[in-house]
Amino acid sequence: MRLYEYEAKKILGSAGIPIPKGDLVFSADQVKEILDRVKAPLVLKPQIPVGGRMKAGGIQFVDNSGEAGEKAKYLLNSSLRGYKIDRLLMEEKLEFEEEFYLAVTYDRSKKSPLIILSSQGGINVEESSDEVITVRFSLLSPFSKYKAHELVSILKLKGPLFLSLSDIICRLTKLFYDYDATLAEINPLVRTAKEAFIALDVHIDIDDDALYRHPELKDKFGIENGERRTSKVTPFEKEAARIDGQDYRGVAGRLVEFEGDLGLLIGGGGASLTVFDAVARYGGSPADYCEIGGNPSVKKLKDLTKLILSKPGVKKIAVIMNITSNSRVDLIARGIIKGVIESGYIPHEKIALFRVPGAWEKEGTKILKKYGVKYYGRDISIDQAAEKAVKILQGN
């Protein structure tokens, strides 16, 4: 879950990392009230769930308070990087001497958390990689301050600046751990003329799989996952995610929506790429595609099948998976057939074909046979199954 900048800043502030003075506005009417507390010059920052706002020209500077309302109104009526702007962070504009980059994340390759620091922060930081210094640390013991000291010493900062940057690194590292972040990034972290560090922009990603153990995000900061626009998900895709979230067992809900007429329930990861490619190659047009993986419950599969069938334009669905190990053919058959029936359709009419060989296929075949659904096993490959599904649909 990617936090909005203002949410991330709330967490930073509570962790003792200096942030600019500012407030959130949802309408231009609120600007006046905030001007009592935050004086011009100001910066208006649209709160959207993706980065690159500066490069897209979405950040507005306000030199005198008089024009703040006008500019806020303009932004709130426009879109940025495909997102309609519905909230702005109104902040004091800070003059600064230097831009730093500081992040804590995981190094996938080394399987370890990693601190990244650079004295060349800003929007082009990845291009100045020569100036980047990194240090890995263990999660088994609390982070030691000396590690921050060692890191900062490379930058040759003096006295109070050395200490305050080290302090910010320790606090960010602790916050990264405490909130189950997968990324905590301050860019830029600026040095002001008064020799202070302030976090000008912040990006925090929280691990979706760890949200269950962070009730404080809602209780303390009002951060909720419910209505979050993490990416451009459709309500349909959102509903699929909700169904998937009912139960931790198995995946049945990673769904992508398209415009065609064939609903696809296909094996996850590597298999789904192969099937999707083959469907396109044989001239099929998917209405949506949903991955099944692990061993999802019958109810999850049933709800998902109902959702897929509820999409206008879906003529038939095809169920194609690799030879399964733990995804049980009989349980998949049960869930999908139940979903078709509860949607008011007849299974053998609505299901173009079912190609899922593997665990418990004998039992699965019995079920499919009883409902008259066309079934294939190892006798045809994933590619051939995709081709057949496309042909069956075109024949109608």
């Binding site: 019958v298 009989d330 139940k338 019995k366 009883k370």
Partner: protein
Amino acid sequence: MGIFIKVELDDRKCKGLKECGKCVDTCPVRIFLIEKEKININSENEDECTLCNLCLEICPSEAIAVRKLYELEEKGR
């Protein structure tokens, strides 16, 4: 209601919760429920049955039957 699996508990044979209740603990998909100090079938979950047969093994009085509805009807034809 299960349309694939029907789990039946014979009340006359079942020793009840006080003496036994092993099926409630054993079923990995919670088909046996305790309701008003009695063991009942959770019909919502019947179709989740993995056919593990552990309830049949653990029941001391053979009070449980697991029926596959998709097989029964075929035989009946």
